[in-house]
């Protein structure tokens, strides 16, 4: 074989080797997710027979999902969480942009003072009780507002947006001003459309945070009809973390536990929507990796 041909063969071998290793790593990363999904569509009898471990189910059934959706409050909680996520994320983005833009302009009076004020909240936090007191005093307890308003602007994301706006080419803004654009129009018609990476990235972060909202749901919400999804799912699952002692001394508690397949269906229900939205935002995320390196 010629030297070149040998080299190509070596490359092919190397490539195959690398693909194999990466494939194995990807498999170990993906397998738990796939496993969860598979168990959720396996009939319970099969799962029980194999001690809770099935890879290729003989039969496929969606009974677990039917049970989950028939279960009290899950459909309602889904609605609540979707509402809070959509509205909350839009509000998040709106208010973050409204604050980030002026603060990014060096000509803002007292800019340094305002920035100091904001960064201070990044480092120091009132804590749980003062936050609860404030939310309680504003009458937001036991309303959906408690899940949206207190976390309206995250300082960290605000600073990201501010940095992005700071790097926005000044010429574009000048040109718009010359055309007689007002500030609001400038923000909404010129700057935000060109900020798709940061808007999509922050939108995803805020959205996932709203979707996963758990602790705020516990302490602020009393009405079962207003409970967000994660709290409802956790209520269903919490019995299965019973300790061994309690299990023996309180066997009646065990009688109410959900089966393995239902637990897996719950996991899929809580993860799937975010998993579904992510691919649409992914191209903006990769663009967003170049944040700060904008080309006008």
């Amino acid at each position: 074989m010629s030297a070149i041909a040998r080299k190509t063969k070596m490359n092919k071998l190397e490539d195959a080797f690398i693909y194999a290793i990466l494939g194995a790593i990807a498999f170990t990363a993906l397998f738990p997710l796939v496993y969860v999904f598979i168990v959720s569509i396996t009939p319970l009898s099969e799962v029980a027979r194999n001690g809770g471990y099935t890879v290729f189910p003989g039969k496929v059934t969606f009974d677990a999902y039917a049970t989950v959706f028939k279960s009290p409050l899950v459909p309602q909680a889904l609605k609540v969480t979707v509402f809070v996520t959509v509205v909350g994320t839009l509000a998040n983005l709106l208010f973050t942009a409204l604050l980030a833009y002026p603060v990014s302009k060096k000509s803002l009076p007292f800019r340094n003072g305002i920035l100091l004020f904001l960064v201070f909240t990044l480092l120091f936090n009132g804590g749980l009780i003062p936050t609860y007191l404030v939310v309680h005093a504003t009458g937001l307890v036991n309303t959906l507002g408690a899940l949206i308003v207190p976390s309206l602007i995250s300082t960290f994301y605000l600073l990201i947006m501010k940095t992005f706006f700071e790097n926005f080419p000044e010429e574009l803004i000048e040109a718009a001003r010359v055309d007689g654009m007002g500030e609001f129009r400038l923000l909404f018609q010129i700057i935000l459309p060109l900020s798709k990476p940061v808007v999509a990235t922050l939108g995803l972060f805020y959205g996932v945070a709203h979707w996963n909202e758990f602790f705020a749901g516990i302490i602020y919400i009393n009405d079962p009809e207003l409970m967000p999804l994660q709290v409802v799912l956790r209520n269903i699952l919490v019995g299965s973390t019973i300790s061994g002692d309690l299990q023996t001394l309180n066997p009646q508690l065990m009688a109410e536990l959900p089966g393995e397949t239902i637990k897996m269906a719950l996991v899929v229900v809580s993860v799937l929507p975010v998993l579904f939205v992510y691919p649409f935002l992914q191209k903006y995320m990769t663009q967003g990796m170049m944040l700060g390196a904008i080309k006008g």
Binding site: S71, Q76, L94, L133, I221, G244, D245
Partner: protein, 543 residues
Amino acid sequence: MRKVMITVRPMLMMVLVLCLAAVLLGGCGGNKDNSSNTTSNATQGGTDGRQASGSDGERLTIEIFSYSPIANASLPPDQEDFVRQTIENKFNVNLKMTYNMVEGNDRYNKLNVRLASNDSPDIVISGGLKALEYKNNNVLIDLNEFVSPETMPNYFKWVTPELVFKRFSMDKTRPEIQRIPIPVVKVTPVSWYIRQDWLDTLGLKVPTNLEEFMKVAYEFTYSDPDRNGKKDTYGFSVSANGQGVTFDWPQWMAHGIEGALYIKDNKVVHYQMDYRAEHVLRDINRMVKDGTVDPDWFLQKGQAHIDKAVQGKVGIIRDYTGKFGLEGDPASPASRSKQVNPNAKWTAFNAIEGVPGWQDNLPSMSYVVTKVAGKNKEKIQKALQIIDFFYSEEGFLLARYGKEGVHYTRNGNKITLNPDNIKRDILDKNYWLSIYQVFVPEDPEVLGLEVIDPRLTDRDREMLQKIKSYPISQSIGTNVAPPPGVDLVAQSKLENETMAKIALGELPPEAWKTTLDKIMNEMGGKELLDSYTEQARAAGMIK
């Protein structure tokens, strides 16, 4: 100066307005449409709209911080909630039930945040360990001035003053009591159940001791009792959840351990800290080695062994609910196993005849009142009156079964249930009545009532009577807490691990003595047992 014109594109303006409106709406109170079966609500559904502070006209608002016995149960709208209507009319209050969390740490986190913000509910239902924590943090009031057989006559039909003021007290050296117990069913209907049709096929009798039990389990495994030509059945099964061996095995009673935590011959017996467990584990291992136990017994969780019994894969199990074998109840495992095999028949039995296999029940949940709530004495008195109501005949029947004439009919002391109406109004509506049932246990005999479920067959009734007749060990009589410095969790972990390993054959039975010695002498086991004994003595259970 440039004129600042605010001209924004209409669509963006709409989005802006929508966002602000949604945020404001979200803050305006939980008026979200209730997807649960409601038509038009004259009043707002659920508990929103009731202000915790202040009163509606002259009505007080009483808040009870409870838990969901069934995950995500929710009360129906007010028109359908007859328990609420009765209480609110009778006591002229607004009743606020905060129950949306299941019993667990999350619920207490929620409560702690509220307490720290001085926003305390009037009555709190708390578990034992948490009540102790609250007491030690000086958060609770002494209930002596509010609780007595005179002020709560119905409650004291279910509990004795000795239990409330002495045995359940968290500090037996002082007269103050910071909690009062929620009554529980006196005796749990624990029993083993065996496939009678398999016994008949193989010509065997119901076992009455360990040897017979093991023999029957052997036959169930190897002699194809369901005659389907396949070796797909096992004698016995449990669900150990990967921890320990469970208390379902008759081996425990066969070797003198007759309950999980109980008093015998003036001594405290703890099933995980007893040297006799060596023999128990040896015999468990015998069954495991013989293959007469479902091989998934150790890893499976929850009700998996019951499911297998329903599927016809297992011939003997132990059940703690009392409802396993009731063929008249369509939800019972016995009924469900009939759907799999119409010949399936289950018999309840005591595997070691004449020997107790469980102890009587101790209350664990309790009512406590925080100092913040306790400032308003009138409210607390009213709240305790409401609690007392649940223990009266009227309250008990209302919370347990429903409305007279609709969900049951009454003839003297006989209550005959109407399962169809119960299903229609209660069970099919997410079993909402269970939220009120946390107050009262299902023990009609305490009030001298007899409850008849018309669906039960005579055989079912005999089965329930038989289970009632089993002997029972004496409970330890008081909630016990480990002494400070003793790591109960570490001990328990080691005990479970060792038991499992011996049962599975990875360690010899003699290893139990070595391990228990270590736990007793080096890990504080002796201190624990001594402390339990002391606490039992202080409660008057031991001389």
